[in-house]
Each structure stands twice: as structure tokens, then as C-alpha cells.
């Protein structure tokens, strides 16, 4: 069968109204409880916090054998998928679509939550950069130039926007040639950049690595400033997100695009786009931009509402608070993509055995059957989704509070947090509303 329209079959039912209301009320109440009762001096300092990991674990993680094993696995998988993308059939049975839209884009969230900066460890372009540097006798970590400070995370934010545009707006995104073109540009920008600027470029410009490393800060694995591998709570680990120009844009694109994805599937938007004479891809592009811009602008306005303490520039505040949106993004992503990840993910694993569409069973997964247990239990699914959104919200509010008591002068500490708290409640309630109105 050949389907022209996207991958993944049925979507989730809307969550029941009472679940959405219960979730929103809990988010609101907990927010103010945190504000009223939580500590008054900053608790998290990623530079020094955490318990050193067991020696055996540190030795393993830092050993070249372990690192090269992951790199080679990443490179081998990359090669396998490139083969499917170049030589496989231009049909939805080609696993490349599921690999890109499900395993890579959605799967990097749970992988990074569990293992930390997962994508950095397997990033095939990093491995190619090392290989290329060995070949020409240069240092893979240092390129010919330094990345200018103002560049920050803007290349990654741009790349992330380009990806969500491909995923959510571009009508032919499940055909091979647009996908090949997108990844050709991605590889060119990221790989050539790494030759010019060294491996730091990946931390600034590779959308998948930047996303994975951000989410990885919610894992229990972190490193202190001196490089010690430590185990610590996700909130303590989250404090280690490196702020910089464009970080707010990164989280805005991640959250805004997921909200737009929910919105675009709503019945009213569907009816509008099918009856309008306006060019739909353009309408959706504008709508996607508006969603991301609303997140970014409201966040910047809320975080700069109160003046910081001396020594902190007011215009740096949005980036200094941006880490606190990461748990909200992850909670909402989890709710939005759970069924898709589990069910279309299984479908992709099955398809991966037969990349050429010849009936092969290269990986031994070809005769697996997709398990639809999650779809068959819609109430369980709805509760899980609401809990994910509320948990993300609570972690976000606590992270923002801890940063606020570090950055705001004593007399503004409570009032200064209010705008951000209100904006976070707005994000969460909007997210729940979109899950309800699906």
C-alpha cells in the first residue's frame, strides 16, 4: 500500500475535559505552593553538585573502547539508513521516514532522559569530523576559527525550525527527494562548520545534538566543571545547561512547534485549511512561526519584567532562565508523542529489516507484530499524558524559582517571579487544552 499522507496511523483521542481541568488546576496550585514555600537561597550549582559516579562507571564511560564502540554503532546505523535513503523504494515502507521522524526526532528524548547527552556520543558527523581531522592531520576539537560569541545557539535554533517545518508543514515530507535534500544541507552545514570551527560547532549548530544535550540535562548523569562524572537529581543537573544567545529560540521552537502540531490536527484548523483559497503550506508556515514567536516573546517579556541584581545584565535574563522551559517541553513532548513513538516506532523497527522493500529480514525483526496496547487503553493513556505535562510543569517551576533567587535582588524575589510563573501556567494550560481539543 502506498500512502501519500504522513506516517503513523490513528492519532490519540482527545483527553477528557475533566482530566485537562484537573491537570491545569494541579499545575496552578503547585506553582503557587512552590513560590510560597520553597527555599530562598539557590540550591543548585551544577559546577560542584552531585555524588561522584562509581569508579567503574567513570572508567567505562571515559574509556576510548566504550566511546569508539558507540561512535561506530552510530556510524554503522547512519550508513545503513543512508543506504535505505539512496537505494530503497520511495514508499512509506522505506524505514528511513520512521527513522527520521520517530526514532531520531522523538526517540532522542527518552534516550537522552535515560543516558544524558546520548546523541553527542553517537553523532555520526562527529565521528566523520574526527576521521577527517586524522586524515588531514588537524585537531578535531579546534578548527581554523573560533565560533563568535554572538552566534550562540542560533544555528541550532535555525536547524530545529527547518526540521519542524519539514515535519509539520512541508506537504511532501514522506517522499525521499525532499528528505535527501534536507539532510544533504544539514550534513553540509554541520560537517563543513565542524571543519571550520572544530567540534564545538556541534554543540551550537547540530539541531539533534543540541536538543539531545538539553534533554540530557534532565537525566541523572552530569559532569562538574572539572569534568568529574557525577550522579545527581535531574533538577540539579538541569542547572548545568549552558546559557547563550539563541537558547531561548531553541526552546521556543521546540515547544511552539509541538503545540502547533496539536493545533494543526484539530478539526477547526483542518476545516479551515481545506476550505481556504490561501496557499496552505504558507498559512501553516506563518502559523508555525506565530506559535514559536508567542513562546519566545512571552518568555522574554516575563523574564525581563523585574530588574536583576547587580552584575547581571537584564537582557541576559531570558537565556539564563531558558533551562526552566526544558522540563515543560519534555513533559509535553512525552504526552504528544507517546503513542506515536511506541506504535510507529515498532513499525519502524519492523521495516528496518527490509530497507530495499524486497521482503528481506536483515535484522530478524520483519515478522514482529505491532503491539497496540497503549491505543487500546485510552483512559490509561490520558492519565499518563496529563501526569507527564504536570510533572514537567512542576520541575520547570522549581528550576525557574531556584534561578530567580540566584539572580533577582532580595526585594524582588517573589514579585519578580510572578510574570514567569504566569507564563509557565499559560504554556501548561495551553498544552492541556490542545490535548483536550485534539
Amino acid at each position: 500500500m502506498v500512502f501519500a499522507h504522513g506516517i503513523g496511523g490513528a492519532r490519540d483521542l482527545p483527553i477528557p475535559a475533566e482530566f485537562a481541568i484537573a491537570g491545569a488546576s494541579a499545575a496552578l496550585a503547585i506553582s503557587f505552593i512552590v513560590l510560597a514555600l520553597a527555599w530562598r537561597n539557590p540550591r543548585y550549582d551544577a559546577a560542584t553538585s552531585g555524588r561522584p559516579a562509581p569508579v567503574g562507571l567513570t572508567k567505562l564511560v571515559d574509556s576510548p573502547v566504550f566511546q569508539w564502540t558507540l561512535r561506530i554503532l552510530g556510524l554503522a546505523f547512519f550508513g545503513y539508513v543512508v543506504w535505505a535513503a539512496l537505494a530503497g523504494p520511495d514508499l512509506l515502507v522505506n524505514p528511513v521516514f520512521g527513522v527520521v521522524y520517530v526514532l531520531l526526532w522523538v526517540g532522542l528524548v527518552p534516550a537522552s532522559l535515560l543516558f544524558g547527552p546520548f546523541y553527542k556520543a553517537v553523532n555520526p558527523l562527529r565521528t566523520l569530523n574526527i576521521a577527517f581531522s586524522r586524515l588531514v592531520g588537524s585537531d578535531p576539537d579546534h578548527g581554523m576559527y573560533e565560533v563568535p560569541r554572538w552566534v550562540g545557539y542560533w544555528p541550532a535554533a535555525t536547524g530545529l525550525f527547518a526540521f519542524v517545518w519539514l515535519e509539520l508543514v512541508y506537504p511532501d515530507n514522506t517522499y525521499l527527494s525532499p528528505l535527501r535534500l534536507w539532510f544533504a544541507i544539514y550534513i553540509a552545514v554541520v560537517f563543513v562548520g565542524s571543519a571550520l570551527f572544530g567540534s564545538r560547532w556541534f554543540e551550537r549548530a547540530d539541531p539533534f545534538e543540541v536538543y539531545s544535550t538539553l534533554v540530557g540535562h534532565l537525566s541523572v548523569f552530569g559532569r562538574r566543571d572539572d569534568g568529574t562524572l557525577v550522579l545527581r537529581s535531574p533538577l540539579a543537573n538541569l542547572d548545568g545547561v549552558v546559557p547563550g544567545p539563541g537558547l531561548v529560540a531553541v526552546v521556543s521552537v521546540l515547544f511552539g512547534s509541538t503545540a502547533f502540531d496539536s493545533f494543526k490536527d484539530s478539526n477547526s484548523w483542518l476545516r479551515f485549511t481545506q476550505s481556504t483559497s490561501l496557499p496552505v503550506p504558507w498559512v501553516n508556515t506563518v502559523a508555525l512561526l506565530v506559535f514559536c514567536a508567542v513562546v519566545g516573546v512571552s518568555f522574554a517579556a516575563a523574564t525581563t519584567a523585574a530588574p536583576p541584581r547587580e552584575g547581571v545584565r537584564r537582557r541576559d535574563l531570558p537565556a539564563l532562565f531558558a533551562h526552566s522551559v526544558v522540563p515543560i517541553v519534555v513533559g509535553y513532548m512525552f504526552a504528544h508523542y507517546l503513542t506515536y513513538f511506541v506504535e510507529t516506532g515498532q513499525q519502524t523497527l519492523i521495516q528496518l529489516s527490509d530497507p530495499m522493500g524486497t521482503g528481506a529480514d536483515l535484522l530478524g525483526t520483519a515478522d514482529w507484530q505491532v503491539n497496540y496496547w497503549i491505543s487500546m487503553h485510552p483512559s490509561f493513556l490520558a492519565v499518563t499524558k496529563v501526569l507527564a505535562v504536570v510533572t514537567g510543569h512542576v520541575l520547570g517551576v522549581i528550576a525557574a524559582h531556584d534561578r530567580a533567587v540566584a539572580l533577582l535582588p532580595k526585594r524582588h524575589q517573589l514579585t519578580g517571579q510572578l510574570p514567569l510563573l504566569i507564563v509557565m501556567v499559560f504554556y501548561t494550560v495551553t498544552g492541556l487544552y490542545l490535548l483536550f481539543g485534539a
Binding site: 501519500a4 496511523g9 490513528a10 484537573a22 483542518l270 476550505s275 497496540y372 491505543s375 487500546m376 485510552p378
Partner: protein, 140 residues
């Protein structure tokens, strides 16, 4: 903090309480293989054969690039057949984005097809040529 956590726990209990008293689990079949069956009437018979089931009946019109309905939300039940009365002036393919996906071939003229969805969710029925989402079946 402890109080905040307690509140999360309370909210959790409240939510899962709701869940257990909510609608019963769909009559669980072990293999949710969806099935589509088609009964094509000869183009000459104008009136579609009366269907014996009590489920949904939906009228579908395909005339060139005009397809109706467009984006209609229809409530449906898991495992209950949905009858489509189709009137078309061309060959068409209806893609049913259920899990797993289904496909209905439409011939010119009047025809009746039944569709059964065995997994809860929102299932879009799309006319392939115009890429119009005709129906969003809300299957519970």
C-alpha cells in the same frame, strides 16, 4: 517541597480515580487487526442496498475534484461497522489512517462499503487524489 509532592500525589490519585470509573476498557480483542470489507453495487442500481447494521451511515460524494464531506468529525464505536454510501464519477482511493492502515478502492457510480475500526483513536479518511481529509472518525 514535600507538600508540593503530596499535592502531585493527590492529583495523581484523583486522576487515576477518574480513570477507573470512566468508560470501560474497549472490549479487548487480542489482535486489533482492522478490517475493511467492500460490497460494490452495480452502477445501475441507484438505491444503495439497505444495510442491516445499526452503526453509522455516512454519505460520500466524489465529483471530479469536489469531494464531500470535508473534515467532518464523526463519532464511532470500536468494532462497530461504519457504512459509507459513496457516489463517485471517477475511480478513487480512500485511505483510512487507522492503526494499521486500510485502503478502499472506489469505482465510478454508487457503491456501499463498510469499515470497521478496532483500535480507539482519531482515524482520518482521506481521498487520495485530492488529498482531502473527508472524515475524522473519533473511535471510542
Amino acid at each position: 517541597m514535600r507538600r508540593a509532592l503530596a499535592l502531585v500525589a493527590v492529583a495523581t490519585l484523583a486522576l487515576s480515580g477518574c480513570a477507573s470509573s470512566e468508560e470501560p476498557e474497549p472490549a479487548a480483542k487480542d489482535t486489533p487487526a482492522a478490517s475493511a470489507s467492500a460490497t460494490s453495487d452495480p452502477a445501475s442500481s441507484a438505491a444503495p442496498s439497505p444495510s442491516e447494521d445499526s452503526g453509522n451511515t455516512i454519505e460520500i460524494k466524489i465529483q471530479g475534484d469536489d469531494v464531500e464531506p470535508s473534515g467532518e468529525r464523526v463519532q464511532a464505536k470500536v468494532g462497530e461497522p461504519i457504512t459509507l454510501h459513496i457516489s463517485s464519477d471517477r475511480d478513487a482511493e480512500l485511505h483510512v489512517h487507522s492503526s494499521p492502515e486500510q485502503e478502499l478502492e472506489v469505482k465510478p457510480g454508487e457503491s456501499t462499503k463498510t469499515l470497521t475500526i478496532d483500535t480507539p483513536g482519531i482515524v482520518e479518511v482521506e481521498e487520495h487524489h485530492t488529498e482531502t481529509v473527508m472524515l475524522q472518525l473519533e473511535v471510542r
